[in-house]
Symmetry: C2
Subunit: 407 residues, 2 copies
């Protein structure tokens, strides 16, 4: 997810170089996202990655962080190609292996959807990783749910997180957060690499967040895009970065690719929300409904919530722009209806042209506060346009939801 | 999942050859398991697969059905390697691409766990595919659930299918089927490539099966295997077929690999069943609890249910052996407690030494019937040791569960 922010990563001292001049610390351990029993890729205490792929007849093998640095790998006498990278940011990273020109998943890892492809991911241990770790606390459930969308004319899939006590008191009803993925991702992202369920389990166990449902849907609506306009263009097999990929879209991305959010808005408002309210024990009113999203999902959140203040009371925009006072047509109505505006970025994103489109996000958020709106601005330290920023954003955002602002 | 049955497949007229002599029918369509927008692999009306991988600098590229046929691919002038296979069995198949000696997933497909690795799968349309297709009927939910296992000392994951009406009448309680994967697979198999949820949704919508819960756990218990004895041996990175793979185990497989089912039996009986009965609205007694499994999971089912007739009343063994009258120590007690024994195989498996270990499964099952036991034997037409046999087995088995035998 770093495509748009590569230049910022470079400024931040993470150039794309094949090898380090110092020998790496020899405390490498398998990434926690590896397949059962697989020893590679590994990560050491310096946050360097050691990758290893057996390809005895290959001429060239490269480790390729999607939209980021590429590291040529070196063949050993055993036919295995290896490399040690520069230190990486804490958290989750998409990558692939390029073997003689073929971009393929690393067979050592589990697979994640991002960059418009299912492919490899690895995890750099973080100083604050406990908040999204599997702890011995009561756990909610992550449910795969099919719903019929009249506007799409199709059975669509979403995931619903239900909190640990959802099955205990069957008379209790819950608020709902609609939480969206980014460009080139899908409805699996938040529950998988986003660790949304574990973040909520840990917050709830610590008494830091009110239990609520999280609904994660796919904003790429089937049939809503012309040929070559879906999440991956037709014919893009073996070209994981072709198509929409990670460029923040909505008419703002550097790729200039225009996304029309109206198809998803219709699915969300006409089909998904009514389905969720009919299927789950929700509190089905505006004060108990939130929307948030990352990158493109943040832009969708801004666009959809501002147009439907009668539907949503809490708004979260993670690495996807901000809300300026000038975006609000009726400030008095907004103040009455919107109980929270939360805007966040990774620290490495701040100051970029992209983050500042529509105005500096911190300044915009401060102006909302000055106008009397319950607005929060959060910066994830030492991260860019990547999942660690968004895990942390959810961790900061969730405790602010569905409570009295000044509690 | 064909490792042990390759010889049978060969007899059945599916030799491993690179190309066909007749030109294939040019009605290829993308496999339904492809990643969004990906055009390859494709399948035609003759059940042939056309694979395509872009690897411009590669020297050699092979399509490799795990444990089955391998097809050398041919380089085109565009740098893309292609091949058309012989007709494949209807249903789901695991495969990988070998690029210059590196066994990797095909970047065109979604990924599935089997053969002790996450990797590619493809789907050959079947004449009877409606029973496991996503239809416009009420859908249940597939829930990812974490439970603490005291005997394993770890938080473990399982999946639970809840039927469509589970959220409607909150006073209703349900029977439970514990449904196990095969060797080299995990708790994701039945809900993903097994289509268990869709099979139940369709059966329930047609009034053919009573609604019940299905619990799918991982029988590879962490810490229960010594070094190199887990589902994938340590150090087997990039060797997807190393380790346990698909050989039916439990002391019966040709690989001679011994599995000890006691660790899983303890997790199931001491931790998982009590957790499920405490968490879901179950009917928590022996008459309302079934166990079934495929291949190694069938052997576990046989072993665990025969030793715990006080816990299970319905038994399903899919491609995993059978139950002989001589296996039953107290026939009178068995007849009183066991309401159903269901045994199934793919037609291509029948007659093999492996299927006949412990006696011919059909003869064994007929003998159970003769002894007054409600026993059923099912043969999946024109399939081997593969998921199409097991999807069909579940479809035949589920209607027999938790009803009066002679209804």
């Amino acid at each position: 997810m770093k495509t748009a922010f590569l230049s910022i990563s470079l400024l931040a001292g993470l150039p794309a170089m094949a090898q380090t001049s110092q020998p790496p610390a020899e405390d490498f351990k398998p990434s926690t996202l590896n397949q059962p029993g697989r020893q590679y890729p590994q990560v050491n205490s310096e946050r360097r990655v050691r990758a290893r792929v057996v390809a005895p007849q290959a001429q060239s093998v490269t480790l390729d962080f999607l939209g980021g640095a590429k590291y040529p790998m070196t063949r050993g006498e055993d036919g295995a190609w290896t490399v040690v990278t520069r230190p990486q940011d804490e958290g989750f990273h998409y990558y692939q292996i390029v073997i003689d020109g073929a971009g393929v998943p690393d067979p050592g890892t589990r697979y994640f959807y991002g960059g418009s492809r299912w492919g490899s991911g690895l995890e750099i241990p973080a100083h604050d990783q406990d908040f999204y770790a599997l702890q011995n606390v009561p756990h909610g459930q992550l449910r795969q749910v099919h719903y019929y969308s009249k506007s799409a004319g199709a059975n669509l899939r979403c995931f619903v997180y239900t909190p640990p006590d959802y099955e205990k008191d069957l008379t209790k009803r819950y608020p709902v957060l609609y939480l969206q993925h980014g460009g080139g991702e899908d409805e699996t992202g938040w529950g998988s690499q986003g660790n949304a369920g574990l973040i909520m389990d840990n917050l709830i166990a610590a008494g830091k967040a009110r239990p609520f449902l999280i609904v994660m849907a796919n904003s790429y609506v089937p049939g809503a895009f012309g040929p070559g306009r879906g999440p991956a263009a037709a014919g893009s097999t073996n070209a994981p970065l072709a198509g929409a990929t990670n460029a923040p879209a909505g008419g703002r991305g550097p790729g200039g690719r225009m996304f029309d959010f109206s198809a998803f808005s219709k699915v969300l408002l006409d089909d998904l929300i009514p389905f969720v309210d009919a299927t789950f024990r929700t509190l089905p009113d505006q004060p108990n409904r939130a929307m948030a999203g990352l990158s493109m999902g943040g832009m969708q959140t801004r666009s959809i919530t501002l147009a439907h203040l009668d539907k949503f009371s809490h708004i979260g925009v993670f690495s996807g722009g901000s809300i300026a006072v000038s975006n609000i047509t009726d400030l008095a109505a907004f103040k009455e209806k919107v109980k929270l505006v939360f805007v966040s970025y990774g620290s490495r994103e701040l100051g970029s042209d992209l983050a500042n489109r529509g105005g500096d996000p911190r300044a915009n958020t401060e102006a909302l506060k000055a106008a009397g709106i319950n607005a929060h601005f959060y910066v994830s330290p030492d991260t860019g346009h990547e999942w660690q920023s968004w895990r942390r954003s959810l961790y900061q955002f969730a405790p602010l939801l569905f409570i009295e602002p000044n509690r």
